[in-house]
Symmetry: C2
Subunit: 365 residues, 2 copies
């Protein structure tokens, strides 16, 4: 799939849909199609390719040898949400991984990017993670973004061209235009797996998520590997929802953690056991408290916009995705030159199950 026109084939097969944002109609690929990952977008006939799925390895020693025949670059993996940013006329547009225009990211990303970048490179697509505690999609975020959100660029693509820019070209452009980047740890070979392991051990000790590994040539293959810490962290963040997620979300992370400890030559200890147990319990205890108080389980979100209409467009976007009854706006006020949007997102399956159980229902399992 090399041009936006190709998405019309997908449309004919029911794998793409028309969406609308700020007066622009665009075609969004809703499923993987003919080798293109879902989330690709045809924007006025031009293709913004989808960001590919990245496989995860659980063992460095065998995984690096299996995944990479030549050298690869190692970068820090950032725990936020994936956006693709491109220029349309004189504005920037940011797409989510799924290919929706995100009114929040679209409102904010210009702060992080030098406009001269798109003057010099008008067909550039910046692939980045928008991460921080005040994002509208996920609870939590990296500890090194203490408030609001920050942008971390990790890949560059070009409109209407599949694949990523080579790493060297990416680093050159990022440096020239001062783009905020995900930390790079340099170039490695599979035989150096112990160096990679030691690097990940440092990230683990610092409470960071892990790494993304990128083949140097031809430059498209990527894989990822995460710290043991990230497994416990993910559980702590999502245990509040339990039944909302497939249970395998949790068991998969336990397996990652156990294999991580094994390869790191570590054994479990009382502190880790306690952290893991608390990760499972504390969020759910809080959800039950909230259910008893409010009659529903929900999470509070807060995020900042430059323009009020983008905040309202974001609420519309979220209601469209999650359903009107599951999103409640609780505030929209100007603070220090930004519009602060506050809203609560319901956790509907857990809410429903707790209603049933607190009414005294018996469940056959």
């Amino acid at each position: 799939m090399k041009t936006g026109q190709a998405l019309e084939q997908a449309l004919a097969r029911g794998r793409a849909r028309w969406e609308e944002y700020g007066g622009s109609r665009y075609l969004r690929l809703t499923d993987d199609f003919q080798g293109s990952p879902k989330g690709a977008v045809s924007w006025h006939g031009r293709l913004i390719a989808g960001y590919p799925h990245i496989g995860r390895i659980f063992r460095l020693e065998q995984g690096l040898a299996q995944q990479f025949s030549g050298p690869f670059w190692v970068e820090e993996k950032i725990d936020g949400f994936n956006v693709r940013i491109f220029r349309s006329g004189d504005r920037l547009v940011a797409l989510t991984r799924g290919g929706y225009v995100c009114p929040f990211a679209t409102d904010r990303v210009a702060e992080f990017l030098d406009r001269a970048l798109f003057e010099a490179e008008p067909d550039l697509i910046v692939c980045a993670e928008l991460a921080g505690p005040d994002n509208p999609y996920t609870q939590g975020g990296p500890s090194f973004v203490p408030e609001d959100v920050a942008l971390f660029v990790f890949d560059l693509m070009r409109i209407d061209r599949p694949g990523f820019l080579p790493e060297a070209e990416k680093y050159a452009l990022c440096e020239r235009f001062g783009l905020p980047m995900a930390r790079s740890f340099g170039r490695f070979a599979a035989a150096e797996w112990e160096r990679v392991r030691d690097l990940v051990a440092e990230l683990d000790a610092e409470g960071r998520e892990g790494i993304v590994l990128k083949e140097e040539a031809p430059g498209t293959h990527r894989t990822k590997y995460v710290t043991g810490w990230s497994g416990v962290y993910d559980i702590a963040v999502r245990a509040a929802d339990t039944v909302e997620l497939p249970g395998d979300f949790f068991t998969g992370r336990i397996l990652r953690l156990v294999l991580y400890l094994d390869e790191a030559g570590r054994t479990s200890d009382a502190a880790l056991e306690r952290d893991l147990g608390r990760a499972f319990l504390s969020g759910l205890v809080e959800s039950v408290e909230r259910f008893k108080r409010d009659g529903r389980v929900s999470h509070d979100f807060c995020c900042r916009f430059r323009r009020r209409e983008n905040a309202l467009a974001f609420m519309d976007h979220l209601r469209g995705i999650l359903g009107h009854t599951h999103v409640v706006q609780t505030g929209l006020t100007e603070e220090g030159g930004l519009w602060v949007l506050r809203f609560a997102k319901e956790v509907p399956k857990l809410t429903g199950l707790l209603h049933q159980l607190f009414r005294g229902a018996a469940v056959v399992d």
Copy 2:
């Protein structure tokens, strides 16, 4: 479904199957059918009804009121495997919950039951839990059965008649013939839910599983409720298999634990958190060690038989259910008048996944 003949209708609809044990052919209900729970058996044309599914409540206060309009009996729930025992000619036969003749239970149950019982009551079906560390189906078992297995009777039925004997009649027969019973805590009403809660708190402190509650009249409705301890215990026993089970097995138990603590007026503490974290980690760490040593994950079982041919029949039974390659007999020796069978049961999905991961595969999740 009131007679064995009714199972032939199920056979015609593909919901029953012919099985064979020791020269006897019998018809086994493989799915719930017309209100009869699966596991019902037609034995020489006579119906051994299936043991019904029992729903679980998560809240005593609302659950007891919702489930019982009149008085109910409370008994201890035993963590073993469910058998139905009946007389066929001059021998006893024990069926598993699924309706297979179990060569292990069939070999052993006579030790626990007075033969005079079936002389006096030839059409009786004894519903009981066979529990202990040396059972061939599940790892672990109740702490009060330190070795081998023990039998705990909890219900009586009659051949060709649906439903259970009334509790009073059950207690009278058990007493008269000295049958080993699951502990009874007496008769309660829903308004006494705090007494029930305190009783369960004692069981929790003793590391026991929970209770089964049985309506006094008309005598068929049952429900169950478990201790917080049992959730942690189940996780500790089954975490060694993780991916073998649906992840919801684990998250369901966390939810039970959290709701248990809430109703018991308890908060989580460091000891519980650590127990829970260790429950998740220690079995899986052991499974990974075993995989690295043996190239597969498996569990060792040991159980005792009076007759050698029953041990061999049991191995055949297990190979038939699990597949030949997943069961390995590791010993069959006479010790102190009993035949001690040792075997290993493979955990195939976890074995397969670890093979893949240790080869360095990348998994897209």
